[in-house]
C-alpha cells in the first residue's frame, strides 16, 4: 500500500507492506537509524518518536497508521544546526552512556518540557517511566532534563 508520512517536516511517499512497523519504516525505508528498538513488547521505550506531537512507541505502531500524520524523530531535534536544549542537557549532565536509549529519552523529555516547562524531579521520573536505561541509573537523565528546563532555547527572532 502507498502511504505518505511527514517525518521531521518532510513528506515521504512510499510503498509499504501493511504489516511494516513504524520503527522499521523510519530505520529501513527512510534510513533514519537514530531511532532504535530494544524489545518486542512495548516495554523498553527505546523506539519512542513523536506522532502528531506526542511521544509514542514506534515498535508498536504500523507505518500504515502514520499515513497522513506527522512524525518527529531524534534527527529532527536540532533546529538550524543548533542542538535542542535537551540534547545539550544530556551532554552537559552525562545523561547518556551507551547512547541506545538516548533518542527515545530525549523525545519524551522534549515533549514533557513543551507541556511542563519547569517539571519537578518526580514529574520527570514519571514522564520517562515507560523507558528503560541500563547505564545511567536515571539520575543524570533527570538532571539533564532539569538542565534543559533551566536553559530554554532562545526564542527565534523574526525580522
Amino acid at each position: 500500500m502507498q502511504i505518505t508520512v511527514t517525518v521531521n517536516g518532510t513528506a515521504y511517499t512510499e510503498e509499504v507492506e501493511p504489516r511494516l512497523l513504524l520503527v522499521h519504516f523510519l530505520r529501513q525505508t527512510l534510513g533514519l537509524t537514530g531511532t532504535h528498538w530494544g524489545c518486542d513488547t512495548s516495554n523498553c521505550g527505546t523506539c519512542v518518536v513523536w506522532f502528531d506531537g506526542k511521544p509514542v512507541k514506534s515498535c508498536t505502531m504500523l507505518a500504515a497508521m502514520a499515513d497522513g500524520h506527522e512524525i518527529r524523530t531524534v534527527e529532527g531535534l536540532e533546529r538550524d544546526g543548533a542542538l535542542d536544549p535537551v540534547q545539550q542537557g544530556f551532554m552537559e549532565c552525562h545523561g547518556l552512556q551507551c547512547g541506545f536509549c538516548t533518542p527515545g529519552m530525549m523525545m519524551t523529555a522534549r515533549s514533557l518540557l513543551d507541556t511542563n516547562p519547569d517539571p519537578s524531579d518526580d514529574e520527570i521520573r514519571e514522564a520517562i517511566s515507560g523507558q528503560l536505561c541500563r547505564c545511567t541509573g536515571y539520575e543524570n537523565i533527570v538532571r539533564a532534563v532539569r538542565w534543559a528546563a533551566e536553559h530554554p532555547a532562545q526564542e527565534e527572532v523574526t525580522t
Binding site: R19, L21, D40, E126, G130
Partner: protein, 291 residues
Amino acid sequence: MQVPAPFAYERATSVEHAIELLSRHGPEARVVAGGHSLIPMMKLRLAQPDALIDINNLSDLSYIRVEGDQLLIGALTRHADLLDSAVAGEHFPIFRDAEQVIADPVVRNFGTVGGSLCQADPAEDLSAAFAAVGASVVARGPNGSRTIDVRQLHAGPYETVLEPNELLVEIRVPIRPGGGSAYEKVERRVGDYPVAAAGAVVWLDGDTVAEAGIGLTAVGAEHFAAPEAETALRGRPATDDSFAEAGRIAAQHCHPQPDQRGPAEYKRQLAVELTTRALRRATARARGQEA
C-alpha cells in the same frame, strides 16, 4: 525484532464503514485502535488476524463528556485523555487513580479505553474500574446499537460478547451525586500488569454505606466484580471493619491463578487488602476528606 505475519489492512472512514469492513472480512478480522495490546501479540505471533480494521481516523469516537446523569467516554479516547480529563476526574477519581498506573505515560498516549476493554485481558485495570462504577458499553453493528452492562461484556479471558461485526463505540457511566471512588493496585514495577487491583465506589447515608460498587482484576473475579461483597456492605457502617469484611467476602469469590506475580494465596490476600483500601479511600472521598 519480531514482526507480525501478513494481513490485509483497511482504514475505516466512519463507524458504518468500520462495521461494513468487519462484516466483509469476517471473524478473522480484528479492529485496531491504539494497538498496544494487539500489535505486540501479533509480533509474538500469538495473534494472526487476516485483516486489521484501523479505526484511528474515527475522531468522532474520541470524547469525554457529561450528558444528563451519565459520563460518556468515546471508545477511541486515549488513556492519557481520560487521565487528564477534568470532568471524568471530578465525578470519578477512580479513573484518575487507575489511569495513573495503567502501562506507562508513552503507551497511554496512544492506547485507547475501548481497546483495553475489548482486549479483555484478565488483568486489565479499566475493566475493574468500570465494573466498580457500574458502567455499560454501547456496541454498534449492522442492525444498530445495543447497550451492554460492562459486567456482561467479558465472556472469558481475551473474549467479549461482541459479535465479530460489532464495534464498541462508547462507555456510559451513571453519575450519582454524593459518591466517592478509588482504585488501588499492587504492581511489581511501573508499567507492569497488576499483581492484583481493586476499584471501589461508595455512596454514604450518614455513616452508613448506602450503596457500593467493587471491581477486581487479576484475581479471577467473575466479570471483574464482587457483587457478594457489595451486597454485604450495603447498609453497614462505613468503618474499617466493614470494609475488611467486604474485602474478605470479595476474596472468597475470587479464583486467583498462581504465576510469576505471586502465588494464589498472596493474590487472595491482596484482594482482601486492596478492596479494603479502595473502600476506605472511596469513603474518605465521599466525605470530602480526600481529593
